[in-house]
Amino acid sequence: MSHPVAPATGSGRIRTPLPFPTAAKPAVADTQLRANLHRATRTIRAKRARVVDEVPDWEALRDAGSAIKADVQRRLPELLEQFEASATAAGATVHWARDAAEACRIVVALTRAAGADEVVKVKSMATQEIELNEALEAAGIAAYETDLAELIVQLGDDTPSHILVPAIHYNRAQIREIFQRRMADAPADLSDEPAALAEAARAHLRRRFLSARVAVSGANFAVADTGTLVVVESEGNGRMCLTLPETLISVVGVEKLLPTFTDLEVFLQLLPRSSTGERMNPYTSMWTGVTPGDGPQDVHIVLVDNGRSAVLADPVGRPALSCIRCSACLNVCPVYERAGGHAYGSVYPGPIGAILSPQLTGVADNASLPYASTLCGACYDVCPVKINIPEILVHLRQQAPHPPAERAAMRVLAWVMRSPRRWAAALRLARTGAGPLGAYRERRTGARTLRRLPWPASAWTRSRDLPLPAPQTFREWWGKQ
């Protein structure tokens, strides 16, 4: 390579159109949504904890998973070349896409070449990231989501709010209403029993599966030494798409690689327990190129960069590429539990989204996301590949642009805190100044906090309360005892 090419940031649905605090406001105010989210995250947390506790070598598996992914990142260019060679030798065609638009162009062209005007889709974060459904629609190709939750979201003209359970924000009554309104063949007397709703989806999609000619999928893993792709699912819609159509197009982020087939022994233990809280998901499909007489005979793989090279370029933030999209971090996050997935803007919500999205777009374009966290560290504890999310959040906060008023205030604060004498004097001053106000607020509201400060400090109190200084410090109290 004669000229080094600088890593580039990505495009697609990975930006939050509004600052996180603004985007989170409607969700936090929606009591139905918060109740749905609370029940769902609490349920998955408990299931995950139970099945993780029964694995005696869980920490050893996490260590292995984390190291394998670090190794993948270190050797990504050579592993990609190896994957391409293996998959090609097995009869697949490998394509490369610099960004979202290029990936979409490739899928549209392949669908047209197959003579199809519709595709069936397996749930895939990568295709959501590149906004493939919108691109297909613009090209006159209908895209049908076949995962039950994705179908609910698609029929509801909504966007997913969770990586694993995209319709987590709906309850059964809301789902029944969407089906009755938008699913032409839904039974007239459809009940809101989950079994009845699942049956309606089965009937709705059955003929489509049996006649589809082109399917689009993502992949959970891509194995470099064999050229194998792996898709993990529960309903069998994935198997339908991956098996019955003649043409299969898989959109795969370059970070999805594993060096060897044997490495699946680690990740297929880590993923199901971390994501759905099951010992194993009902179905896992693996295919290597084309198998004559079995499954799609025209197999394509689109390898997508779309900002991943920029993530790789930051040695501190790089481990975000280890993410296997299990969503365990979402389910333990106090911020996600209250704000829901939509507030993050990107297809990657929750703690992993708060570090991945800003790195994919460049921090300046997603500057509020690294602040969408309490830094409590619960996400790090549950991450099956040990991504130190709090550390990367702090690292990204340092890169985010700060307003001049905040920079000035922090400089003054740093000067004050550098000297114990100045600090004690400043505390004394603050106490004296705030004393009557604190007593007044305490009488009125029972709390020594202010809801609103005047400009420019209003920027700070927009999303938090300001605690007023206590009437006496611990040192003063200690001195009196």
Partner: protein, 200 residues
């Protein structure tokens, strides 16, 4: 520059800090020391709402309730002993619509994993094409006790990575509606496992 060359160049540039080599610690369990693998497998399968039968003698009874049965071309003859219903061998290959019309499919498997209750098909003997075990609503799978291993790492050593694989843990299920597990969406709604061989 082609997209391929440009992406590879970007990634190489991104690794300018030359991260040090990584030793992968493989201290996790690779062999199971459990005394009774078969009992563990049955426990896990039933936990997933699969129905477990024991002994080849269970097959005729099971099959007698099935009118139209699909089988791979190389299914062992003794599995079908006494079967009086319509038998549909997958040669020439049955179309998806034809498969959709049948009541059940009978296959073998490559490996079964006790720890997770997973049955793995890799298109080997008595397993047939992937579509065969997907479209009919009921899958009857014969597992020989010598095909049962304890842990996933043991299973992977027995598999051919180049063969298309289907790993099955219980019948089709969804948890997308208020996280209630519902069995039976698009894949077979019923999974029945027949354990045969010594120790079954």
């Amino acid at each position: 520059m082609s997209a391929r060359d440009e992406i590879l160049a970007r990634l190489r540039t991104a690794l300018a800090d030359s991260p040090p080599p990584v030793q992968v610690p493989r201290r996790y369990r690779r062999v199971d020391d459990r005394a009774d693998l078969i009992a563990a497998l049955v426990d896990r399968l039933e936990d997933y709402r699969a129905v477990v039968h024991t002994g080849i003698d269970a097959l005729p009874r099971l099959l007698s309730g099935i009118d139209r049965l699909a089988v791979p071309t190389d299914v062992p003859a003794d599995w079908l002993a006494g079967y009086a219903g319509e038998l549909h061998r997958d040669a020439p290959p049955l179309s998806p619509a034809a498969l959709d019309d049948l009541d059940a499919v009978l296959t073998g498997c490559a490996v079964a994993v006790a720890d997770t209750g997973t049955i793995i098909l890799d298109a080997g003997p008595a397993q047939g094409r992937r579509a065969l075990t997907l479209v009919p609503d009921r899958h009857i799978c014969v597992v020989r006790t010598d095909q049962v291993v304890g842990l996933l790492p043991e299973a992977l050593t027995r598999l051919d990575p180049r063969a298309p694989q289907t790993w099955i843990s219980g019948p089709s299920a969804t948890s997308d509606i208020e996280l209630n597990r519902v069995e039976g969406v698009h894949g077979p709604r019923r999974l029945e496992v027949v354990l045969i061989g010594s120790g079954a």
